[in-house]
Symmetry: C2
Subunit: 346 residues, 2 copies
C-alpha cells in the first residue's frame, strides 16, 4: 500500500461516522487528504481527526472533485442524491445506507464473503445491513464446506443501531426500574413512526417499518441481502428481528440446514475456526459463549453455542454476536476500501 488516497467522509458526526474515523486512524488507512462533508446546516463545524482540526464542508456535488474514496453514512436520501455525483467525478463510493443495496448493478459486499464482486463496481459499492454482515460471515464458510439450503434467524439487536438518540433514551429509561411502562419513549422502535415504546427492560419485535407481507423491512433486508451477498437466490432465509435493551452488539440465534449428510459439530466448528474474521467462542463446560457486552469494540464476528439439531441430521444451531457499529458498519466499509486497494481496483 505505497499509494495514498484522498478520502471524503460524509456524515462524520453520526454514530457510524465516528466509528469510521476511529477505524481509519486505528488501521492506519493510507490517507493523503481527508475531507469531512455534511449538510449545509452542519457545514462550518470543526471535527478532530488524528489530532488535527478540520472544517466540515457542505456536501455539494463539486465537493467530490478529486476524491478517490467517499465513505457515506448520512442517511439514504443523502446517498441517493450525492453518491452518483461523487461516482461521476471519479470517486469510489462505499455507501453504508440501504439506498443501493438491492440495485442489481451495485455490488453488496462483505470482503470475507464476496470480495470478487468488487471488481464489477460502477463507482458505488453498498455496505450491507449490520445484522446481515455478521451472519453471512459465519454462513459463507459453512456453505462452501457443506452446502446450505435453509437459514432461520431470530435477532437480539442493540439500540446503537438506531443511533445516539436511542442510546440516550435507553440510558434515561434504565433509571425507571419498576415503573418503565410510564417512561418517556420518543425514539424506538422507529423514530419517525407514530407509536413509541420504552426499550429498557423490554424487547420490541419491530425494527424498521412493516412490509405488506407482515415482515419488517429489517427482516426483509436480512432475507434479501443474504441471498445477494452469498449468490444464493434460492436459499430459504427467514428472519425475526427484535430490539433489546443492549447498548452495542447484535446477537443472533441461527438455525441452518446444510446439504451434506453426517456433518459433525466438530467438523462444522473447525470450518468456522479456520474462517477469516470469525472467532469461535464455544466451550459450554467453561460457560464460554459470545455475548454482546463483551463484543463491543471488537473486530471479530463471534460464534458459539454450536450444536446439532436433535431431530435433523443436517440441522445446526449457533449463536452469532458482533459489534454492530464495527463489523456491522464502519469496519466493514473500511475493509471494503482496503480490499479494493489490495486488489488494485482503486
Amino acid at each position: 500500500m505505497a499509494k495514498s488516497y484522498t478520502v471524503a467522509v460524509v456524515g462524520a458526526t453520526g454514530a457510524v461516522g465516528e466509528k469510521m474515523m476511529e477505524q481509519l486512524e486505528k488501521r492506519n488507512f493510507p490517507i493523503q487528504h481527508i475531507k469531512f462533508l455534511a449538510s449545509k446546516r452542519s457545514a462550518g463545524k470543526n471535527i478532530e481527526f488524528k489530532g488535527q482540526s478540520y472544517l466540515v464542508e457542505e456536501a455539494t456535488p463539486e465537493a467530490f472533485d478529486g476524491v478517490d474514496i467517499a465513505l457515506f453514512s448520512a442517511g439514504g436520501s443523502v446517498s441517493k442524491l450525492l453518491a452518483p455525483e461523487a461516482a461521476k467525478r471519479g470517486a469510489v463510493v462505499i455507501d453504508n445506507t440501504s439506498a443501493f443495496r438491492m440495485d442489481k448493478d451495485i455490488p453488496l459486499v462483505v470482503p470475507e464473503v464476496n470480495r470478487q464482486d468488487l471488481k464489477s463496481h460502477n463507482g458505488i459499492i453498498a455496505n450491507p445491513n449490520c445484522s446481515t454482515i455478521q451472519m453471512v460471515c459465519a454462513l459463507q464458510p459453512i456453505k462452501e464446506a457443506f452446502g446450505l439450503n435453509k437459514v432461520i434467524v431470530s435477532t437480539y439487536q442493540a439500540v446503537s443501531g438506531a443511533g445516539a438518540v436511542a442510546i440516550n433514551e435507553l440510558e434515561a429509561q434504565s433509571a425507571t426500574f419498576g415503573d418503565t411502562k410510564n417512561a418517556v419513549a420518543q425514539v424506538l422502535p422507529v423514530k419517525s413512526a407514530e407509536t413509541h415504546y420504552p426499550i429498557a427492560f423490554n424487547a420490541i419485535p419491530q425494527i424498521d417499518m412493516f412490509d405488506d407481507n407482515g415482515f419488517t423491512l429489517e427482516e426483509m433486508k436480512m432475507i434479501n441481502e443474504t441471498k445477494k451477498i452469498m449468490h444464493t437466490p434460492d436459499l430459504s432465509v427467514a428472519a425475526t428481528c427484535v430490539r433489546l435493551p443492549v447498548v452495542s452488539g447484535h446477537s443472533e440465534s441461527v438455525f441452518i440446514e446444510v446439504d451434506k449428510e453426517g456433518v459433525s459439530v466438530t467438523e462444522l466448528r473447525s470450518i468456522l475456526e479456520a474462517a477469516q474474521g470469525i472467532e469461535v467462542l464455544d466451550n459450554p463446560a467453561k460457560q464460554q459463549y459470545p455475548m454482546p457486552l463483551y463484543a463491543e469494540g471488537q473486530d471479530a464476528v463471534f460464534v458459539g453455542r454450536i450444536r446439532k439439531d436433535l431431530s435433523n441430521d443436517k440441522g445446526f444451531h449457533m449463536w452469532i454476536v458482533a459489534d454492530n457499529l464495527l463489523k456491522g458498519a464502519a469496519l466493514n466499509s473500511i475493509q471494503i476500501a482496503e480490499a479494493m486497494i489490495e486488489d488494485g481496483i482503486i
Copy 2:
C-alpha cells in the same frame, strides 16, 4: 364449586409462592383451611394472606395430614422428598419444580392443552417449565387444526425466572450504564455455577446448566416437555434459550411447520383468536404486537407477528409473550387445581 378445600402452600416466601397466594386470593379459590409450610429455618415466621396472619410451619411429612391440595414451589429437592409423602397422605400435589416432570407416571399439564391427563394422576401433577407453558398454549390449537411437525424456538427470557435475587441484581447493574462489564455479577446465568456475567445491557445464551449434547437443560426442558404435554413424541422441536435484561415476561420467536398445505395467515390467526387462554395482538399497521413490559401481571398468553414463511408454504413465524411467573408458573398451577375440582377429580 360448593365444596372447599384444605390447601398447603410449600415455599410461600419465594417469587412463585407469592404469586400463588395472589392468585388464590384473586381467583377466589375455594379454601376451607390454608397452611404455609417451609424449611425448619423459615418455620415460625408470619405470613399475610387475605388480611390474616399465618404462622409458617415446618414442612414435615405429618404436616400434610388432612391436606387436600398441596402447591409445591420450594425447589426440586424439597419436592422429591416431600411430594410423595404428601400424596401418600391423600393430598393432590401440584408441583412447580422440575423434579417429576419427565416421570412417565406423572401427568405434566397445561389445562388448555392436556386437561384430560389429570384423570390419570397418582397423587402428583407436575407444572411445566415457564417457557414451555406459553408456547404449547399457542401450538396446541394450531396442531389440532392443521397438524404440526416442526418447532424451532428462540427465547427472550426475563430474570424473574431466576428468582428475586436475579431481579435485584438486574436493578443494581442497571445503574452501571456504560461500565457494565465491571458490574458485580453473582447470580446469572446460574447461581450455583462457577462463572457469572452481568445481565444488564447484555444477553446471556445460557439458562440452567449444559447437557452433554451442547443444549442447556432449559432447552432440553422445552424440547422434552413440549412433546410430553402435546402427546407428540415424534414432533421435531429445537430450542435456544437466552436470558435478557427484562424483569418479567418471557418472549419467544417461534417457527413452526404445519402438516396441511395452503393454510393462510388469516386462518391461522382465527384459530388462535378462538383458543382458550390466548390473546392475539397482531396489527402491524398500528404497531401492535406483544411485548414483555406489557405482559407483566396479565393472565393471557399473547401472540403476534404471525406471518407465513416466504419460501415454505407450511411454515409460519410468530412471537409469543406471557408473564413467566403467572401463566408460566403460579397461575397454571392454580388452574390445574381448578380444572381438577371442576372435573370432579379432587
